[in-house]
């Protein structure tokens, strides 16, 4: 029976060769998104409208950031070139609709993984590329040094359409403090309003606070309070129902993290093809057939590491060296006491 199917598949493969479909593997055929991506020649990636360190465009339109690097990794794996990405800047409000409607295929936009988002609205989170938590920023000269200094009637600027709005309510309610939420659609407007003195505090994910602080007219006038009021695991999201594409995005991210764990980086990846460690050899594609299962060739992971780098390189380049959050904290590999722990690539 199985033999028969195998025979038929090979027969089909011959027919496919004759008709010129040979480049499409079984997985590629199964995944509409993968097929379309190869056809278009670029990965459709949804990012933020400008959050330094995560996804931010420079004056000439080049996108950089750890979220951007996830999409670049997918492009390197699928299309062989990390630059073949079309970035679509999205507001917090637009992001999920853009993904479910097919305007983008990967949403890598500092998005918190929650149960309702994962289960209810046709989305699937593929992993965590940044462990974050919500915090508060205040003006230094206000003398506030902790959330315990908050008093009734404090006004808090934030974004709409985020978990921030919900956490903020939980937090202030549990403290029994009345507050005035001022919620804007775009982050730039939140920053402008807080900077002008409209609000006493600005609340969002701590990484976001650190990044936005660099945009203020005088960054040194503001401090981020030490307390973290929520868990915010941020990660890339795909549409539900395309398991192959989901796997590709998940393992593109995992490859970056695992490469760092095994000390593989953009500089030494090629030379590690002859490593003694089979785990290392698997990651750089010198052993096993990891790519085939994903509908890709065997060099997909090597391309990610060579073109984008491992997670540590991406973090250093985008977040540490730009002065946003020099301390990696929970975003350190598990062997170094952090939370980054991926299933093994084997």
């Amino acid at each position: 029976m199985f033999k028969k199917i195998k025979q038929m598949t090979s027969l089909l493969a011959v027919v496919a060769v004759l008709f010129g479909f040979a480049t499409e593997s079984f997985a590629a055929k199964k995944s509409k998104t993968l097929k379309n991506t190869i056809k278009q020649g670029f990965v459709k990636c949804g990012v933020s409208q400008g959050l330094p360190g995560f996804s931010n465009a420079d004056a000439s339109g080049n996108w950089t950031g750890v979220d951007v690097d996830v999409c670049r990794a997918v492009a390197a794996a699928v299309l062989g070139d990390a630059n073949k990405v079309k970035f679509t800047p999205l507001s917090a409000k637009e992001r999920f609709t853009a993904l479910t409607s097919g305007e983008i295929d990967v949403l890598s936009r500092n998005t918190t993984w929650t149960l309702s988002r994962d289960a209810d609205i046709g989305l699937t989170f593929v992993g965590v590329n940044f462990y974050d938590g919500q915090g508060f920023m205040v003006r230094k000269n206000s003398g506030m040094t902790s959330v315990n200094d908050f008093k009734d009637g404090i006004s808090a600027c934030t974004n709409i359409g985020t978990t921030t709005e919900l956490n903020m309510r939980d937090f202030f309610n549990s403290k029994g403090i009345s507050y005035e939420p001022v919620a804007f659609e775009k982050a730039d407007e939140v920053v402008a309003a807080y900077d002008a003195g409209r609000c006493d505090t600005y609340t969002t994910d701590k990484s976001g606070l650190a990044a936005q602080r660099t945009k203020m007219s005088n960054p040194d006038d503001h401090i981020v309070l030490p307390e973290t009021i929520s868990k915010e695991p941020l990660g890339p999201v795909v549409r539900q129902g395309d398991a192959v594409w989901e796997d590709i995005v998940r393992w593109s991210l995992n490859t970056m993290i695992e490469a760092e764990e095994y000390g593989i980086n953009s500089g030494n990846a090629d030379s590690l093809k002859t490593s003694d460690n089979p785990a290392v050899k698997r990651i750089v594609g010198a052993e096993g057939e990891m790519g085939a299962a994903l509908g890709l060739d065997n060099d997909w992971s090597l391309r990610i590491i060579k073109q984008v780098g491992n997670y540590g390189e991406s973090y250093k380049r985008n977040i540490a060296d730009t002065g946003i959050l020099p301390d990696r904290g929970p975003n350190e590999i598990w062997t170094n006491g952090g939370l980054l722990y991926t299933p093994p690539a084997r």
Partner: protein
């Protein structure tokens, strides 16, 4: 029979075509949602919303339902639209008449105002009023009181609040005054038409509207006191006002922008309306001895209104719809609260967008009906 049939056929076909298109889209949406594992339903409206809103006309916090959040947004949209329409109409009428002034300075000033404000995109104007004008406002602790009790600060406008005792009695007295004024007016009209006598309706009305509520204070047990906003310190350099009535700066900026923008169009409608009245009408009215005031009130305006009302209705509709730009400056209107936060938290895009569209449609149609009714009332009654 045949001719009748021929007439109906194209109409039926058109109807079938429209139904088909709607059917196709809803089927398509359903299929796509099923494929993507998205459920459909309006049940979420009764769920707890768990987000707070900055400014609400009804009692609301995150423990209320999404439907309540919808009402909050809707009322805020109506609030800013109504205030906007009132101010836009007042400014529009004044500027429209000013454009016809023989005084060159007034005339030119009005013309420049119209050309300036109607040619800059509204969103930019909203940003200007909110971000540029807001930055210029003082922090609460530096605010100079206006008349000793009003404070205009970067955190909003704080005015004394009325604290009523027996407010219902006061409202009844006001209602009684209004009803008696209506009765007296119709009585005086009858008197004028039948016996040619003039009653000083204006003075009687004024007396009633002031007198009756006054009586309610003296014998009705109504008392009124003011709660003056008080400066409260939140932290070393953070202050706010407590008590009194606080209007958020978002509301002020949005109203300003909407009113100033829409007023330019209304001004043009008013100008066109007045210019559209035949010059002979004015001269004829003057020649039978009417005073200039009476000419404007009894002859020009009733005719001009017929030209003014229909295009002004459009402007009212525009203003209402334009109020949805509020989302840009954090004014919690229907779009920000419901089509924004609620949509995001529930992920129910199709449901929420359809409700929002239907709501704006209802709002606009209501305004249209109201204005059409008024238009009919003042239209020429052919006898």
């Amino acid at each position: 029979m045949n001719a009748k049939f021929k007439k109906i056929i194209p109409q039926l076909l058109t109807l079938a075509f429209v139904a088909l298109i709607f059917g196709f889209f809803s089927y398509n949406a359903q299929l796509n949602m099923e494929n993507r594992g998205i459920s459909f339903g309006y049940g979420f409206l009764s769920q707890e919303s768990s987000f707070d809103v900055q400014f609400s006309l009804i009692e609301y916090d995150g423990s209320h339902s999404y439907f309540r959040a919808y009402l909050v947004g809707l009322l805020n949209t109506i609030l800013v639209s109504v205030i906007g329409i009132i101010f836009a109409t007042i400014i529009g009428v004044i500027v429209g008449i000013a454009r016809l002034s023989s005084n060159l300075l007034i005339n030119r000033a009005a013309a420049y105002y119209v050309e300036f404000f109607r040619n800059i995109p509204l969103l930019l104007q909203i940003f200007f009023w909110y971000f540029a004008a807001l930055r210029a406002l003082p922090l609460p602790e530096d605010a100079e009181p206006i008349f000793g009790v009003i404070f205009l600060t970067i955190k909003g406008l704080f005015i004394p609040a009325f604290v009523w005792n027996n407010l219902d009695i006061f409202i009844y007295s006001l209602l009684a005054a209004i009803i008696s004024i209506i009765i007296i007016r119709s009585y005086s009209k009858k008197l004028r038409e039948n016996e040619g006598k003039h009653l000083p309706v204006l003075y009687i009305s004024l007396g009633l509207i002031v007198g009756l509520p006054l009586v309610s204070f003296i014998i009705g047990g109504v008392t009124l006191s003011f709660e003056i906003p008080e400066l409260v310190q939140l932290a070393k350099t953070s202050f706010r006002f407590n008590g009194g009535l606080g209007l958020p700066p978002e509301l002020i900026a949005l109203t300003l922008a909407l009113a100033l923008y829409t007023a330019t169009f209304i001004a043009e409608c008013v100008r066109a309306g007045i210019q559209g009245v035949n010059k002979g009408q004015k001269e004829a009215a003057a020649s039978i001895g009417l005073t200039p005031n009476q000419v404007l009130k009894l002859v020009i305006m009733p005719q001009a209104l017929r030209i003014i009302i229909p295009p002004t209705t459009n402007q009212y509709l525009n203003l209402t719809k334009n109020s949805s730009l509020a989302a840009a400056i954090a004014y919690p209107d229907l779009v920000l609260v419901f089509a924004g936060t609620a949509l995001m938290q529930t992920g129910r895009a199709i449901e929420i967008v359809s409700i929002t569209m239907l709501t704006y449609l209802t709002l606009s149609v209501s305004i249209s009906i109201l204005m059409n009714w008024y238009n009919k009332k003042i239209a020429i009654k052919e006898k």
